[in-house]
Symmetry: C2
Subunit: 476 residues, 2 copies
């Protein structure tokens, strides 16, 4: 048993509740109230009394959408963000001592042109580098040999450019052939250390493939998971779960939580599906990657196993399709991103009881978003304050897409890239208060993940907390 | 939070520790000590104070070997013992509200004649009734249609009479094809109610087949399991677990714990494998049902998934084979039953770190056992006191084979069928004290099931307890 005394302890942010003492036993809160009472309980029962000396305590963060495997990989990947020439890009990759070199973060505008297969063939090992959006990549000849991709419109063999469907295929080959379960376990532990340092104690791990799931099962039974991990699996794994009747299952740290589906791509690559063409490319409105019928079929199978369903929908038209599928199956599911939401969709989201996982830091990274959708539609973009009136909101980073540091996301939610991005002036009234942001990043994320015992520091909740020198509700 | 005050509370039986107050929060013990301290803790923290008024409390029982599905089935069976007419037999069966009606206990002499398929066809549901010996049964047309048995000398299609080999086949078809996952869930809940009433809160469910596992997964995720269930699966299911990398997994109530294997049969049927022939039938020594090589192969596969292995071994020769397999794989596994153990096997059991699940009530049911093995070998039979010096012991009932009532088993362990069975005089010194018996039935069972938080009422343990009017350590 442990008492935290003489502190300023936020047990929750909606409502904001402040106390001075906390008692923890068996990793759960058993008392939240007066400091002296907390001290006396532990003095009676026996245990440790920790004097916080006026420091602040709040629930640890819950990142409701990220990729532990890719985050771990990215921590080992060559960082190509901000690289401004092909030469520098190649030199950075050459400096890696990996057997297979992964890189990420390049942007053709910053580089001056698109990198090619030929550029990367000056490196003596397989190379695979993601654009910063992770929806486009370039591979060198050694890597293409391993990948053995079929020719398609999404794969340009001459330049080594791979996108969307072909990139999905390439990822699949990397996952199934190039990387081992040991590699996955290694990446997951790497990501775990990174997140725990940032005081993120719980995550929704999205798009879990077979090797990642095997690694998670192993780490859970070996007692090596210190994060609470809610696994949202790829639909390809459903068959194996069905063969055992295995559905939602809550372990000590690992929860088999749900299935993750996609309806569209990204705004960056103009593959997010909009109801009207892109403002900066009237030739396209993006693309639908999963038909409603297929979504419905998977939702029904997930329902039968008590699993949640989370559907990636960035464009407003993609959101229509996802909502149609949830309506048809009478399933109050989750939408991931909900980046562009029309006014007429708000009531529908509310009526269907949809939960939303949003990524405020997209505001900063997608500084070009007003160009993509135009000023008229800009008010529909990253409209978190409005969305919060119609749905439960959880915060997330989509790491490694955005940095996993929660305070950057809190800042983005509160200040919306003020003085940095064009979107700010057009959507000023979508700013959230710090307490709202912290609520969505703790109890909000837990709620949309159907975790009933995480995100507050009230009796019965898991004792996932952090100690801070400064007041989290003070100015950022 | 809840305090139990003013009680006589045994937190454990080895050592015997008695206190007067207990505090429970989040279903776990957080304080075990003085009654007044317990009261003050809960008065400070807020919660319920329960005055035990001098009553006794001890850890709930842990039955380390039983069959939830068959126990539930047996509880639903219509009792046909002592029925004296076909008419009464049919009426009793009609009164059941089961989807598929099972009955047992009839005797053709008492009935006046053998019951037939035609008699049972007046009932609108499938019917299957065992004779009192359980070696003969009769089924009606609806049931025979489901069973689809091949013609054989043991199956008379015209009368619906099924015996011996055909009955074994029918049982298999019933378990694997006739009964649905819903039926299994129903039986498991039925068994659960029965066990909770008997203050058995934790069980090792042995020989879990696919439908039982599906039912367990479903009941766990629906929050309907109130027993702690440790599932030991049939080896046929290993392949499906391997396809996901799923091994030991500890849920809220359900634990995927291990694999159950067999080396021999039973003493009753003279199929338990002895090193010397049966004393009452020198033509046989029993039979080995699984070769050592096969045991080794399954143990290795289980090890790779972090699963436990429990091997049924009743005869001393079968035990040799099981120990050989554990030695070869360097695996400190479990032996179920260990009914006949030679002196030279004791040290080996200790050296290999073997855990044992024993069923003291076999002493009562196997009243004929001295005839089977002779007076010379009788001292090797059900030698619990001796075994306890060489291995961790857990108690169990093998229900529905033996009655699930723990006090009958405690009595059998302490009094060994005194004045009832021939074995008593020959093995008097194998009697256990009540505190030893209660230790093996609580913490002992938990230990051999690798459950580190069940079986005591000390801080950190699950608060699985019972309240008693009389002193459990008093005379039986």
């Amino acid at each position: 048993m442990k008492a935290l005394v003489n502190g300023i302890i936020y047990t929750s942010f909606n409502p904001v509740r402040k106390i001075s003492g906390l008692v923890i036993a068996n990793d759960r809160v058993i008392f939240a109230g007066d400091s002296e009472v907390a001290r006396r309980i532990v003095e009676l029962a026996g245990g440790e009394v920790v004097d916080l000396k006026g420091k602040f305590v709040m629930p640890a963060f819950f990142d409701s959408h990220l990729h532990l495997d890719e985050l771990g990989m990215s921590l080992e990947m060559v960082n190509l963000r901000g690289v401004t020439s092909i030469e520098e890009l190649v030199n950075r990759l050459k400096a890696s001592n990996a057997r297979i070199i992964f890189g990420f973060g390049w942007d053709q505008d910053e580089l001056g042109r698109w990198p090619t297969r030929e550029d990367l063939d000056t490196i003596d090992r397989p190379v695979f580098i993601y654009r910063k959006c992770f929806h486009v990549a370039v591979a060198n000849s050694k890597m293409l040999e391993l990948l053995n991709l079929k020719p398609s419109k999404d794969f340009d063999e001459s330049t080594g450019l791979i996108k969307e469907k072909a990139l999905e295929e390439a990822r699949k080959v990397i996952n199934e052939k190039v990387l081992s379960v040991d590699d996955y376990a290694h990446y997951i532990l790497k990501a775990q250390d990174h997140l725990l340092n940032l005081r993120v104690h719980s995550v929704d791990f999205m798009s879990v493939n077979e090797k990642a799931l095997r690694a998670l099962f192993r780490l859970e039974r070996e007692g090596k998971l210190r994060l609470n991990v809610f696994a949202y699996i790829n639909p390809e794994l459903l068959g194996k779960l069905e063969s055992l009747g295995l559905g939602r299952f809550e372990g000590k740290r690992l929860v088999i939580a749900g299935v993750k589906l996609f309806t569209d791509g990204s705004l960056g690559a103009r593959t997010a599906l909009l109801s009207e063409p892109y403002s900066d490319d009237p030739s396209t409105s993006g693309q639908l990657v999963t038909e409603k019928e297929e979504l419905v079929e998977v939702i029904e199978r997930a329902k039968a196993l008590g699993l949640d369903v989370a559907i990636h929908a960035i464009g407003d038209k993609a959101l229509d399709v996802a909502l149609d599928a949830f309506e048809e199956t009478k399933f109050a599911g989750r939408i991931e991103h909900a980046s562009v939401v029309r006014d007429d969709q708000l009531e529908r989201i509310k009526d269907l009881g949809i939960r939303l996982s949003v990524q405020p830091h997209f505001i900063i990274s997608d500084w070009w978003v007003v160009d993509r959708v135009g000023e008229e539609r800009a008010k529909w973009v990253y409209r978190f304050k409005t969305l919060s009136r119609y749905a439960e909101l959880g915060f997330s980073t989509d790491a490694p897409i955005e940095p996993a540091d929660p305070w950057l996301t809190v800042d983005a939610a509160v200040n919306r890239g003020r003085d940095k991005v064009k979107l700010y002036e057009l959507t000023k009234d979508e700013s959230l208060s710090v307490s709202e942001a912290l609520h969505f990043y703790t109890y909000g994320s837990a709620s949309i993940s159907l975790a009933r015992d995480i995100g507050k520091l009230e009796p019965g909740f898991k004792a996932e907390y952090m100690v801070l020198d400064r007041n989290p509700l003070g100015s950022l």
